[in-house]
Symmetry: C2
Subunit: 210 residues, 2 copies
DNA sequence: ATTATCTATAGATCTATAGATAATGC
DNA sequence: ATTATCTATAGATCTATAGATAATGC
């Protein structure tokens, strides 16, 4: 094994820098030169190791996602046997953390870029990962709401909760030039959970009325 | 005035096509050639009328925003004298509509692009428009929550409500490949309002406890 | 001998402009 | 005469590759 610097380390450097840049600026706004500069790796090596830019993009995303999910297990450490309310807390906690940890997790930023302007390059990967994450949340929310809830109420609730979890507050703050107030992840989790539970209960009540 | 086709019509064609493309694909991913193609206007005319791409971007955004706000007044038609709850409904209603009407309103899409990867080009414009919209919501939520609410609770609540209003559901659906369910704006407004009111009341209760 | 790394660049794409053409107002 | 529109292209940027160099394993 091990040649000069083995190449594996170089590949990791490239992937790390690429993930960060893609998450901040998106696919097209990130050039190989940017990645080269940020990673300290000669720009020709990017094509050498990954072939083309689309491949780096895909691999950077997969790499980030794997690392992020390892760091923040999507169930938030709450066992599958726990009641829906607790599992909901776990999911919210993990999701907010994953999307807030801009120092280590880039998958959320890349996904937000992909939502803003889809490249379509991650579609296959999504089906195996993001989709199942969402299905899991759907199951928990469904259990929380109980029977007799319309599919529409269910889906809308999930979207609302996810929206609160992944909304890039720091970026919005920058755009809005509001006086930046300290962003406390723990408090944000409590807040989103409180908002979500209250919202879900309201949806439940309204559904019963009809 | 009025030469061949006056030029004003051409400028409008350019602005319209540009706004749509910028909102879908962002600043850098949209080329003059794209705008030319979509608008049916010779690409050289874009520079002729607007100088550079940054100027088109700014003007397209301002143009869209003005049109959007004219179409959906930000107070949702609710008078300033109405109680906070009603005014909140008005704001949510107007915001969801504005961000959902992809046929006519492009400002929301452009803003989402700007949040995803900031160009910084709209900063000055933001201060006069978006900032005041947000301040207005802040005032209403503050009134709804009453005294004794921490600044943090207030800001977080505003972010949560905005997140639910502007979350690009259709785009997320496309990414996630969930079976697309019909997106009904009226129902979405009711849902977000219900979730928000319940959430705000929960925040209020939790705040009283301490 | 193998392969990680670097230098140099071809070819594509994109922005912006120069200069020609054509349609209107006077 | 003025100016809206078009053709052609210079110059910048960016991706991907060809070919040279250098560091390691055998």
């Amino acid at each position: 094994m091990a040649k000069r610097s083995d190449g594996i380390e170089t590949k990791k450097k490239i992937l790390g820098a690429a993930a960060k840049l893609f998450s901040e600026n998106g696919f097209k706004q990130t050039s190989n030169a940017d990645i080269s500069k940020a990673s300290g790796v000669n720009s020709a090596l990017i094509s050498y190791y990954f072939g083309d830019k689309e491949t780096i993009y895909r691999e950077a995303w997969q790499h980030s996602l794997r690392e992020s999910l390892a760091k923040y297990p999507p169930d938030g450490g709450v066992p599958a046997t726990a009641p829906a309310r607790k599992r909901l807390y776990g999911i919210i906690s993990a999701t907010v953390r994953r999307y807030s940890d801009h120092r280590h997790c880039f998958d959320g930023g890349i996904l937000n870029q992909e939502i803003a302007s889809p490249t379509g390059l991650l579609d296959d990967v999504h089906e195996n990962t993001i989709f199942s994450l969402r299905e899991n949340l759907l199951r928990v929310v469904s259990e929380f709401l109980g029977d007799g809830i319309s599919n529409e109420d269910l889906r809308m609730s999930v979207y609302s909760i996810v929206a609160m979890c992944i909304s890039p507050q720091k970026k919005i703050q920058r755009i809005e030039k509001t006086e930046p107030f300290p962003y406390d992840v723990e408090k944000r989790i409590e807040h989103v959970f409180r908002f979500s539970v209250a919202g879900l209960n309201a949806v439940k009540r309204a559904s019963r009325k009809n």
